[in-house]
C-alpha cells in the first residue's frame, strides 16, 4: 500500500494551492450562467488545466494528457478550499463526454467549444411523466418528415430548461422496435417553435426543474448522435458519468469540516453542542462514514490506476454518497434546532441557509440520477449476481 502520489504530484498540488490562493477573489460566487465572472473564471481554469483538462485544444479544452491523479488532486483541492472548480451543468458533465466518445467530428467542433466556454447552456431531456426509473419506456416521439424530425411529447425534471440554449433529448424513433432499441439521441435548440417550458418548483423553492412540452417541433435530421435506434446506448455512456459525480466524497468532507465548526459555535442551554455527548456521538458516527466513503473513493481511483477490480465500491458510491450527505446536512439542522429552520431571505440564517437547502437538495439527489432503490437493484444484480425481477405478464399472474 502506498498512498503518496509521488513528488511530481506533490509539486502539482502545491502549485494548484498557490493558484487558488492567488485567484480566490476572482472566483464567482453564485454568478448566473453566462455571466462574465462565470465565463472568465472558466477561461482561467481551462488555461491552467484545472478544468476541461484532457479535452483537446481544438475543442476548447486544455489538451492535457489523461492523468487520474491530477484529476483527483484538482477535485480534492477545490473542495478543500471551498472555491468553485470549473463550470458544471449537464452540458459539460454529460453531453461533452458523450460527444467526445460518440459524436461526429462536426458535432464535436460545433458544440464542445462554446459549451466548455460557458456560452452554450444545455438541458437534458430524458425523464418523462411516465418514464422515470423505467426510462426506456419513454414515449416522446420523433418521426422523420423529409429532412426533419418532427417531435411530439413531453419531458419532466428538466433542470435549467428555462435557461438552456439547447437540449440533448431521448426520443422514440422506432415505435415498432423493442423498447431499448427504438430510441434516438437528438440535439436541438430550445427556441425551436413548438417548445413550451413550464417551471416545476421543487421543495427547496428554487426553480431548478421544468416540464417541457413538444408540439410538432421540427429538427434537422442530422442533429442526431449515433445512429437511429442507438440512443439508449448513447445515453447510458453518460449516465455512468453522472452517477460518479453525485455524492462526491471530497465535497462531503468539506461539509464535515464545517459541521464540526458549527457544532462548536451553536449552543443548547449554556452548553456547546459539541460538548453534548448525544450530538457528539452522532457526529462521530457520521465522521466514520465520511471517512469510509473517502477511502472507498481512493480505492476506486487506485483500481483505475492499477487495473484491479473495484466494481462493488463503484456501484455503491451514488447510493451511499447521497444518503450520507442528506444525513450530514440533517445533523447540522438538529445542531441548530429552531435556528436550523431559518430559510429564504432571513437575517437569522447560518451559513447562508445552506444546511436546509442542501438537506432538501440531497433528498432530490437520492431520487434523481437513478433512485436509491434502482441503485440497490444494480448492486444486487450486477454486483452480487442475483436474478432480475421476473417480467410481469399474463402467464405469471393467472391462477391455476
Amino acid at each position: 500500500m502506498d498512498l503518496s502520489y509521488g513528488p511530481q504530484y506533490d509539486t502539482y498540488r502545491q502549485e494548484l494551492r498557490d493558484f487558488i490562493e492567488r485567484h480566490r477573489d476572482q472566483a464567482p460566487r453564485n454568478a448566473p450562467l453566462k455571466s462574465d465572472p462565470a465565463k472568465s473564471w472558466q477561461k482561467l481554469l481551462i488555461e491552467h488545466g484545472y478544468t476541461a483538462r484532457t479535452i483537446p485544444k481544438e475543442y476548447g479544452g486544455h489538451g492535457g494528457e489523461p492523468d487520474l491523479l491530477k484529476a483527483q488532486i484538482i477535485g480534492e483541492e477545490f473542495a478543500r478550499a471551498q472555491v468553485p472548480g470549473g463550470l458544471g451543468g449537464q452540458g459539460i458533465s454529460m453531453l461533452v463526454p458523450t460527444l467526445l466518445e460518440l459524436g461526429s467530428e462536426e458535432q464535436k467542433r460545433q458544440f464542445i467549444p462554446p459549451t466548455l466556454a460557458g456560452e452554450m447552456v444545455w438541458c437534458q431531456g430524458y425523464s418523462e411523466p411516465n418514464a422515470g426509473s423505467d426510462l426506456a419506456s419513454l414515449r416522446t416521439s420523433a418521426a422523420l418528415d423529409g429532412d426533419e424530425w418532427v417531435i411530439n411529447g413531453s419531458k419532466i425534471w428538466t433542470s435549467t430548461a428555462h435557461l438552456a440554449d439547447w437540449i440533448f433529448c431521448l426520443v422514440r424513433t422506432e415505435p415498432d422496435a423493442p423498447k431499448h432499441q427504438g430510441i434516438s439521441f437528438l440535439l436541438f435548440r430550445m427556441d425551436t417553435p413548438g417548445i413550451e417550458i413550464r417551471p416545476l418548483v421543487d421543495m427547496t423553492l428554487a426553480p431548478n426543474f421544468n416540464e417541457v412540452f413538444f408540439t410538432d417541433v421540427r429538427v434537422p435530421k442530422e442533429q442526431i448522435v449515433g445512429k437511429r435506434g442507438e440512443g439508449w446506448f448513447v445515453a447510458n455512456a453518460i449516465l455512468g458519468h453522472e452517477r460518479d459525480s453525485l455524492g462526491d466524497p471530497n465535497a462531503t468532507l468539506s461539509r464535515m469540516t464545517r459541521l464540526i465548526e458549527l457544532m462548536k459555535e451553536e449552543t443548547i442551554g449554556n452548553e456547546r453542542i459539541i460538548d453534548n455527548p448525544v450530538y457528539r456521538d452522532r457526529l462521530m458516527k457520521i465522521q466514520a462514514r465520511v471517512m469510509s466513503l473517502r477511502f472507498n473513493d481512493l480505492r476506486v481511483l487506485s483500481s483505475r490506476l492499477n487495473n484491479t477490480d473495484a466494481r462493488l465500491p463503484r456501484m455503491i458510491s451514488k447510493l451511499q454518497g447521497t444518503e450520507l450527505r442528506h444525513e450530514l446536512e440533517g445533523l447540522a439542522i438538529d445542531a441548530m434546532g429552531e435556528t436550523g429552520l431559518m430559510y429564504g431571505a432571513s437575517e437569522f440564517l447560518r451559513d447562508g441557509g445552506s444546511w436546509q437547502n442542501q438537506y432538501m437538495y440531497f433528498l432530490g439527489l437520492i431520487i434523481g440520477g437513478g433512485t436509491s432503490q434502482i441503485q440497490k437493484n444494480i448492486i444486487s444484480e450486477r454486483g452480487l449476481g442475483m436474478p432480475r425481477e421476473p417480467k410481469f405478464d399474463q402467464s405469471t399472474t393467472k391462477t391455476n
Binding site: 480505492r299 451511499q320 452480487l384 442475483m386
Partner: protein, 360 residues
C-alpha cells in the same frame, strides 16, 4: 499510489482460507464449542505451519516479522471462518506488547515460544478500556492483587495483564495464588474467564507499559474490526447463496426485490467499511498521527455495520437462520463478541472525539 492489498497479503489470505476451508469447517467449530475450550491443536498446528502464528514476531525470534496490516488481513480470514483460536491474543497483541515493552530477556523468554506455537498468551486488558464494574489489579512488591474479568483464553499458558496504572505484566497459568473462573458467554469460539489474584507472582514488562498499551490497543481494535469484516462478508455470501437456492412462490427468493435490497444494503455497508479498515491498517504501519483515530473509528464503525449485517443476513435465511442446524449463529455471535470486546462503539467514538480534541 496503490490503495489495496499487496500480492503477499492476497496470497497469505488465499493460503489461510484454503487451509481453513479444509481443516476448520463449521463441524470442527461446533466440536470446539462443545468441548472444554482447550486449544484446538489441529487447527493451531496448521496455522503454525503456515507461519500465521508468528506473523508479528520479529524474525530474530523465529517469526515472520510482518506488519500489523498483514496480521489484520489474516484476522479477516479467521473471522470469515469463525475459527476458534487465540489469534488476536497470542499472535497479535502479545508479541506486539512484548516486542515494544519487554526487556531483552523477556523477549528471549516469550517471543520464540509464540513463534513456534508452543505457548499461548491470553489477554487481561478489559479493565484498561471501557472498564465495567470496579475490577482491576494493582502491583504491590512486584506481585499482583485484584480481580480482572473478561480475560481471554482460560487455557492459555500465560496472560498479558494491564494493571490499574496501565502497566503490563505476564502471568503464568498455574502461578501461586491465582484462581481462574470460566465466564460462559455467547460466542463459544472465543472463551473468557475471570482471574482472581492475591499477591500473585508476575513478570512485569519493564519498558513504559502505559504508552505501549495505547499502541497495542490500536492494533487490537483494528484486528478485531478485520475479524468482523471477514465474518460479515461470510454472512452476506451465505445469505446470497441461500437466497439463490431457496424457492417460494415458484421462484428463488433471490429474485424478490425485498430480498435483493437487503443484500444490496449489506454490500453497500461492507465495501466502504473495508476501505476504512484498509486505511486504519495502513496508518498503523506508517505510525501516522491519525492511526489512533482511525483505529477507534474502524472498530466502532465495523461493529455497527457488522451488527446490521448479522441481523439482516440471518433474516434473509428465514426460520433456518434462527436454527442451530445451519450454524449461522456462530457468525452472528462472533460479530456480537467483537462489538463489545475491548470497548463498544459508543465508548470508541468518544475516544475518537477525544483524539480530535472534541471531547475532554
Amino acid at each position: 499510489m496503490d490503495f489495496g492489498l499487496s500480492e503477499l497479503q492476497l496470497s497469505m489470505q488465499e493460503n489461510v482460507n484454503r487451509f481453513l476451508d479444509e481443516e476448520a469447517s463449521l463441524d470442527r467449530v461446533r466440536e470446539f464449542a462443545a468441548s472444554d475450550h482447550s486449544l484446538a491443536e489441529d487447527i493451531w498446528t496448521g496455522l503454525v505451519n503456515l507461519g500465521v502464528v508468528g506473523v508479528l514476531v520479529p524474525e530474530q525470534y523465529g517469526g515472520l516479522g510482518l506488519s500489523a496490516m498483514d496480521a489484520a488481513v489474516i484476522g479477516e480470514c479467521l473471522g470469515n471462518h469463525v475459527t476458534p483460536v487465540p489469534y488476536l491474543s497470542t499472535c497479535v497483541v502479545a508479541p506486539r506488547a512484548i516486542a515494544l515493552a519487554g526487556s531483552d530477556a523477556q523477549k528471549d523468554e516469550y517471543l520464540p515460544k509464540i513463534a513456534d506455537g508452543s505457548k499461548t498468551i491470553g489477554l487481561a486488558l478489559s479493565e484498561a478500556c471501557a472498564a465495567r464494574g470496579k475490577n482491576g489489579a494493582s502491583v504491590r512488591d512486584g506481585k499482583l492483587t485484584g480481580t480482572v474479568s473478561f480475560v481471554s483464553d482460560p487455557h492459555a499458558d500465560y496472560w498479558l495483564l494491564a494493571d490499574r496504572d496501565r502497566n503490563l505484566h505476564v502471568i503464568a497459568q498455574g502461578a501461586q495464588h491465582l484462581e481462574v473462573k470460566v465466564m460462559p458467554q455467547v460466542d463459544r469460539t472465543r472463551p473468557l474467564c475471570e482471574l482472581t489474584l492475591s499477591d500473585t507472582p508476575c513478570d512485569s514488562l519493564t519498558n513504559d507499559g502505559a504508552n505501549v498499551l495505547e499502541r497495542v490497543l490500536d492494533v487490537a481494535w483494528t484486528t478485531l474490526a478485520f475479524d468482523t469484516l471477514g465474518a460479515a462478508q461470510s454472512m452476506l455470501d451465505q445469505a446470497v447463496e441461500y437466497a439463490m437456492n431457496r424457492e417460494q412462490f415458484n421462484r428463488v427468493i433471490a429474485s424478490f426485490q425485498a430480498v435483493k435490497h437487503m443484500c444490496a444494503e449489506m454490500a453497500a455497508e461492507i465495501e466502504p467499511s473495508r476501505s476504512l479498515l484498509w486505511y486504519a491498517g495502513y496508518a498503523l504501519d506508517e505510525a501516522s498521527d491519525d492511526a489512533h483515530l482511525h483505529a477507534c473509528h474502524a472498530k466502532a464503525h465495523m461493529a455497527e455495520v457488522g451488527t446490521f449485517v448479522a441481523r439482516t443476513a440471518t433474516v434473509v435465511h428465514g426460520g433456518m437462520g434462527f436454527t442451530d442446524l445451519l450454524g449461522l449463529h456462530y457468525w452472528f455471535k462472533r460479530i456480537g463478541f467483537n462489538r463489545q470486546y475491548l470497548g463498544g462503539p459508543e465508548w470508541l467514538r468518544e475516544q475518537a472525539a477525544i483524539a480530535q480534541n472534541l471531547a475532554a
